[in-house]
Subunit: 331 residues, 2 copies
Amino acid sequence: MNSDTVTYDMIRAAAGRLAGKVRRTPLLSSPFLNEIAGRQVFVKPECLQHTGSFKFRGAWSALSAMPEKQRSQGVIAFSSGNHAQGVALAARAHGVPAVIVMPTDAPRLKIDNTRALGAEVVQYDRATQDRDEIGERLAKERGLTLVKPFDSPLVVAGQGSVGLEIAAQAAEQGVSEAQVLVPCGGGGLTSGIALALAQDAPDMQVHPVEPEGFDDVRRSLESGQIEHNPSMTGSICDAIITPAPGKLTFPILRQLCGPGLIVADSECLQAMALAFLRLKIVIEPGGASALAAALFRTDLLEADTVIVVASGGNVDRELFSIALNDSPEVT
Amino acid sequence: MNSDTVTYDMIRAAAGRLAGKVRRTPLLSSPFLNEIAGRQVFVKPECLQHTGSFKFRGAWSALSAMPEKQRSQGVIAFSSGNHAQGVALAARAHGVPAVIVMPTDAPRLKIDNTRALGAEVVQYDRATQDRDEIGERLAKERGLTLVKPFDSPLVVAGQGSVGLEIAAQAAEQGVSEAQVLVPCGGGGLTSGIALALAQDAPDMQVHPVEPEGFDDVRRSLESGQIEHNPSMTGSICDAIITPAPGKLTFPILRQLCGPGLIVADSECLQAMALAFLRLKIVIEPGGASALAAALFRTDLLEADTVIVVASGGNVDRELFSIALNDSPEVT
């Protein structure tokens, strides 16, 4: 857990520990989406993963690699929700306690689910309190191991298993060249996928996707140094709003990724409606950002094939109904 | 196409023709659904299949087995919608014309999609006109081959590929004994799955599931002869409302299936909301009937494991919003 590098071999090793524990999500497509995008679009629906997001992969990777004595004392995580559920379920499956530090404004569904999966939830105020400080203090007090949401080699290695699957599933479709769009918060999923594809599908180019106004990763890639978001609230894409790219993830993103893309909240809602209509999957706003970029920001795309990750599906029914009913009819 | 039997070997042959053409849908589950059902529940989401339902399997099976000269003249199908889309896409992929005879009250989404997939749509009045007669006349006039929605050996063989996948995927989970619940209209999917499982998973028992008041199959299984529905309208489960089980399918159902189950429309809506919340998939009312039975008609179930097929996801956004917002909160 204390090493500060992550490699392709670590992703392969994580995939071995994950085998039979995570779902190999399919690669979906629809002629209707291809028509909107003007190219072939494949969607990797990690919303269908256990706990409704890719986060279960990283959590399982971290817990399964811990020495048993350390793991048995329990784990702690801080998260706006999807990482929380991933860690909670992975801890329950390993039979160890989990404490989750969550912001008070996290979607109620995510808080409820985390509790229902057996974790203890400790809440904090996103505007005034530092979640890292809270997490580290609790960890020390109770002897818990902190499972970071993205800036940890074992977590990145677990998320990277998505990239291994993309390379294999695209090859089955005869696709080796593509732009791969990934919803990006701290960069754990994006950097893991980029590392996997650099080896298994070197003609694929990964691009992080962020909401307008919360494009810390895009700006960091442009300036060459870690940039911060001015605010942590104000987008419906809660799952991918983080202060800045990670110290571990940013150098990987910088080395391997193409420029970042940005999308509006309204485009994410419309992508959610189209995923409902054409793919029969449920995506949350942040998780729909990459699909939104593939459908509505096509001027920045060059490849004949775009592969997008739909990173999570934990959305309240109220917000989902808004996405369905307020989106322009696209049939 | 003129043989009047369907065998396990025909299902295997169909699966060979379908390889690389249909999606191998995953087997999903959620600890939250298990808790409601009081047992392990697996869901086979055929809503994620091409065109949003299992029907693409049977259509591909039928078209791919036709002599090329016959196929090139085109195909015709009559359908409330899902079979229509399956045939339309399979015909387009084979580069041949398709005529689809659809009831005037079919969901607009299904009519629009069928047209968008390149088929010619001919509409008829479900209450006063006989779709079989219309279909057969058009077929004769234009030299088209009729692709029946369920009472055809090649179509049943294609649908049976779902059963092969269920047996293999359940075995991967260590499951060999289960009750398998299948939304049932004319019985093509149910009989195909039953034939596949009789060979590959003989300790699984298949049960057809129908809406209350449209339980022709359940009553037919009870009486031992083909019974008819008194009406063809009055349920939101449009995809599985048919006049009676087929001449081909009923003897198979009678030989291989356990008693039929029935569910209320309101239970289907609630199952749709839970599938949204817990599995992140979109199911249409008829397609949700088997999940509804697994969750809410548990007094009729005995096995520790229930596997349900979610047969389709082609639902208008208006009806889906009703399912989300009118269902009791189950968290």
